[in-house]
């Protein structure tokens, strides 16, 4: 077993973990932050995307021990004082979700996208979410939601 300490959504969390526990299971099962989803479990679908030290990452492909000492942001950490993050607001306004399963990962990928490129073109948005799959309907409303957030910032 290993000791880990990481800052998750601004709070220091210390825990004892089996080294083989993936970050996504640590977040969901040990910290009970179930907003981060497990989709494909093979580093492809992006449902498990979180921010590690300010950049998007697939938490199904990282052991929790690797994130020891890091700063993690999950979907639960985006809203401030009950105020939705501009991307959450964008997904709300533009109906950027249908079933909602991919949404937390989509939003966390988009946070990094807008951090790197505050006013992306439609093409840049589509490239920015190539690591995230939506299996409901298509990507147009998701692209609109990210554009909405970009113009609001």
């Amino acid at each position: 077993m290993s000791q880990v300490s990481m800052t998750v959504n601004g709070k220091v969390r210390k825990a004892t973990v089996d080294p083989r526990v993936l970050l996504v299971y640590f977040l969901r099962d040990q910290l009970r932050l179930t907003g981060t989803h497990i989709g494909c479990d093979t580093s492809q679908c992006g449902a498990c995307t979180v921010m590690i030290d300010g950049r998007s990452a697939k938490s199904c492909t990282i052991f929790a021990v690797q994130a020891d000492g890091s700063e993690i942001t999950t979907i639960e950490g985006l809203a401030t004082n009950g105020q939705l993050h501009p991307l959450q607001q964008g997904f709300w306004e533009e109906h950027g979700l249908q079933c909602g399963f991919c949404t937390p990962g989509m939003i966390m990928a988009a946070v990094t996208l807008l951090k790197d490129n505050p006013s992306p073109s439609e093409r840049e948005i589509r490239e920015g979410i190539t690591g995230n799959f939506c299996r409901c309907t298509g990507y147009q409303h998701i692209v609109n939601a990210i554009q909405h957030a970009a113009t609001k910032r």
Binding site: S2, P19, I52, A57, T61, I62, F63, A109, T130
Partner: protein, 285 residues
């Protein structure tokens, strides 16, 4: 998917990493980004008893100018390579290839050294390292050695890296007139056929050419017949078309899998060779 149990430790330095590896008696593996290793461990195709985390070793990542050459630390993530101002200006082929690896999340974690050590037959970096004639620096407990990229990739997932060694960095002379073009698998972005072309052009003549091919066979390889067809010829569209036509013709065997048949790959090698050469030549002017 739950990997087999292992012990985990973090290396503080290269020497510490090598000492820790040695102490595992062959049962240990290094992990940096883990984006090749963790998927294998989840499938239990790889079951190391000890993982030694090298991701935070000071100095193992970064892109540096060293005299006329550029050095990239093995721990440098693809995103950093893709966005490096130095590389984009002096040797854009490297950034271009890095920007096409996987997806943004993968590029935020995966490293150059990991990609080279893993040597996936469809990985992008090996072709680029061949085209740049890069030197790969390896460290063992008893010293450092340098291997040419053309000697490093030996077979399917097989490289010239001893059990007690670690990749430290790659070095190369930057080439502006070089480009990477690939036909990629739509979900993974791995190369079905990837061609890296580096040209030396002066006074309208191609003085030198190095072409690296990935995705098509067991490991990345040079396309000597294309290189010969280009060298000493006028730097023109006609030269490129004629040279690309023979690309891969002598290659045996060529991969065939669910993504592309051998026939399709054989047809695509000249197409992507021509695209890479065309862009490389554009960058020469």
């Amino acid at each position: 998917m739950i990997p087999a149990a292992f012990e985990y430790s973090r290396a503080a330095s290269l020497d510490d990493a090598l000492a820790k590896l040695r102490a595992t008696n062959g049962a240990g593996k290094f992990i940096a980004g883990g984006h090749s290793l963790v998927p294998l461990m989840k499938l239990r195709l790889s079951e190391p008893k000890v993982l030694i985390d090298i991701a935070r070793i000071p100095g193992l990542s970064g892109i540096r100018k060293q005299g006329d050459r550029i050095e990239i630390g093995a721990g440098t993530v693809h995103h950093e390579v893709a966005t490096s101002a130095l590389l984009r200006q002096a040797c854009p082929i490297v950034s271009e290839a890095a920007a096409g690896i996987g997806d943004p999340q993968v590029r935020n974690r995966g490293t150059l050294g990991g990609s080279l050590a893993h040597a996936d037959p469809a990985a992008d970096y090996p072709a680029v390292m061949l085209a740049l004639d890069a030197d790969i620096s390896l460290k063992a407990p008893n010293g450092v050695r340098t291997v040419k990229a053309s000697d490093f990739f030996r077979g399917l997932f097989t490289v010239d890296l001893a059990a007690d060694e670690i990749i430290v960095s790659v070095q190369f002379n930057p080439v502006k007139s070089a480009a990477y073009a690939k036909l990629y698998q739509r979900a993974s972005h791995f190369a079905i056929v990837g061609v890296a072309a580096a040209l030396g052009v002066s006074d309208g003549v191609i003085r030198s050419a190095r072409i690296g091919l990935t995705g098509a066979s067991s490991h990345a390889t040079r396309l000597a017949e294309v290189e010969q067809a280009l060298t000493g010829k006028p730097a023109s569209k006609q030269t490129i078309e004629a040279a690309a036509r023979v690309a891969g013709a002598k290659l045996e065997p060529v991969n065939s899998d669910i993504h592309a048949s051998e026939e399709y790959r054989r047809a695509m090698i000249p197409v992507f060779t021509e695209r890479a050469l065309t862009r490389a030549l554009e960058r020469a002017s």
